[in-house]
Amino acid sequence: MANVPSGLLYSKEHEWVKVDGDVATVGITDYAQASLGDIVYVELPRVGAALTQFGSIGVVESVKAVSDIFTPVGGEVVGINDGLENDPAAVNRDPYGEGWFYKVQLADASQTAELLTPEQYEQLIAES
């Protein structure tokens, strides 16, 4: 059973969002890391980049495949997880903690209304 922590919001593309004031931290879910398999590289947006909600903003690479990352929220990138460069396996080990991808200064906090609650995300993956 994939882990779906409470206190987070989720996207249909299997990202999680942790909102703290007007800054959101983004990563991929336990379901996503298990589906992808061993992560070998994550291409993150640059600090300062302007992201549009649901736009393709990077990739996550497993041994066999390259998958797009669609940002669940828009805004300016204010932080990225440098540690993933040399330890991409952190995404598999700890997708909600050490495996975080980037932080965004939310352009529009109401965008989070487009996201799924933990219960809705659990339903989504149960139906997959």
Partner: protein, 372 residues
């Protein structure tokens, strides 16, 4: 083995076993095959450090019988065949008129007039049509594809973990030797060969399909807890790439010749004639051909098949295979490049999603196992 309706995937005799082990299944060569059971990197690690178990029953197996199999085969392939002794296996390539490859294969000589030919799963139908078309005289061909299974155990613990179930001494089988030995659970002796596609020590077992589950379960029953892992095609591809072994469709194709692929050691030009000989000789002597090289990426972005390769700002070729290489802890790749970009040490740039990333040409293989 069952053949499902035309168009649907075939299954090996071990299909239920894979599902029970939690394998993720994918289509390959017309069969439903396990790409991974737990994780590609864990399975890769098991093979390098202990041993892994592979179901390779999707590969084509042809039985060849007759007094002139060697001579017949030599006319169609790059390597010598007729001088193989019973108990020997040998790598070879069937060629087309231009010197390109129909398939890379292994011949196993079981007796004076009994041979096994193993071909790639993706080429099984093509190769059966080819050998059938070229059949002559008293040569008898039998297509056992799907009727026989192929289980491989690969890794440094292979001898230790297989020996208890075999009635003869497998430790004395030399690399690329084969023999017929009785394995617990098989009715008749089966072919065991000290061959493989991982760069590690190991054995390939060729057995009746209806005995495959018994042998597979037997090997896992005691050895799983010692660290024997079932391994899928995902790990197999990373292992063979690290070991510098060509994969048909990537480093060898109908267009990419054995000369270009860097396996000239297997071409015996002193044979009087063989398909594509003139073309390969001219290519070798002209020395003007694009060729397969190994390369490592400087950074963490993997190179993948199809990515363009640049030298001094101009496109010089393309990536043919690429992956993170866990044993060498670098991103590794093969590329088909112009001769001017092929020298060891050449600095290249690989275009990945519009950006260029540094790479260096290195000799193959990326990994060689320690001599024991």
């Amino acid at each position: 083995m069952t053949t499902t309706d035309s168009g649907a995937l075939r299954r090996t005799a071990l299909n239920d076993a894979h599902l029970a082990l939690g394998a993720r299944m994918v289509p390959f060569g017309g069969f439903e095959m396990p790409v991974q059971y737990s994780s590609i990197l864990k399975e890769h690690d098991a093979v390098r450090k202990r041993a892994g178990l592979f179901d390779l029953s999707h590969m084509g197996q042809f039985e060849l019988r007759g007094p002139n199999v060697g001579e017949w085969a030599e006319a169609l392939t790059i390597n010598k065949v007729a001088n193989m002794k019973p108990g020997q296996a040998r790598y070879n390539v069937f060629t087309n008129e231009h010197g390109g490859a129909h398939d890379d294969v292994i011949f196993y000589r079981l007796g004076d007039e009994r041979w096994l030919l193993v071909v790639n799963a993706s080429n099984a139908d093509k190769m059966w049509a080819h050998v059938s078309d070229k059949r002559s005289g008293d040569l008898q061909l039998t297509n056992m594809h799907g009727e026989r299974a192929l289980i491989a155990i690969q890794g440094p613990r292979s001898v230790e973990w297989l020996q208890p179930y075999v009635d003869a001494d497998i430790g004395t089988l030399k690399y690329y030797a084969c023999a017929e030995m009785r394995v617990r659970g098989t009715h008749d002796p089966i072919v065991i060969a000290r061959t493989g596609y991982t760069g590690e020590d190991g054995f390939e077992l060729f057995l009746p399909a209806d005995e495959a589950v018994g042998v597979w379960d037997l090997l896992l029953a005691e050895n799983r807890e010692r660290g024997l892992e079932p391994c899928g095609l995902g790990a197999r591809d990373v292992l063979r790439l690290e070991a510098g072994m060509p994969l048909y469709g990537h480093e060898l194709t109908e267009e990419i010749t054995p000369v270009q692929a860097g396996i000239g050691w297997a071409i015996k030009f002193d044979k009087p004639a063989f398909t594509g000989k003139d073309a390969l000789l001219a290519q070798r002597d002209g020395n003007d051909y694009s060729r397969i090289v190994g390369l490592t990426m400087e950074g963490r972005v993997p190179a993948r098949a199809g990515y363009p390769v640049f030298a001094n700002g101009a496109q010089a070729g393309e990536i043919r295979s690429g992956s993170w290489g866990p044993t060498v802890e670098k991103n590794i790749a093969t590329a088909l490049v112009q001769p001017s970009a092929a020298a060891e040490g050449t600095k290249l740039e690989i275009e990945v999603r519009g950006a260029r990333h540094a790479a260096t040409v290195v000799p193959l293989p990326f990994y060689k196992r320690a001599k024991s």
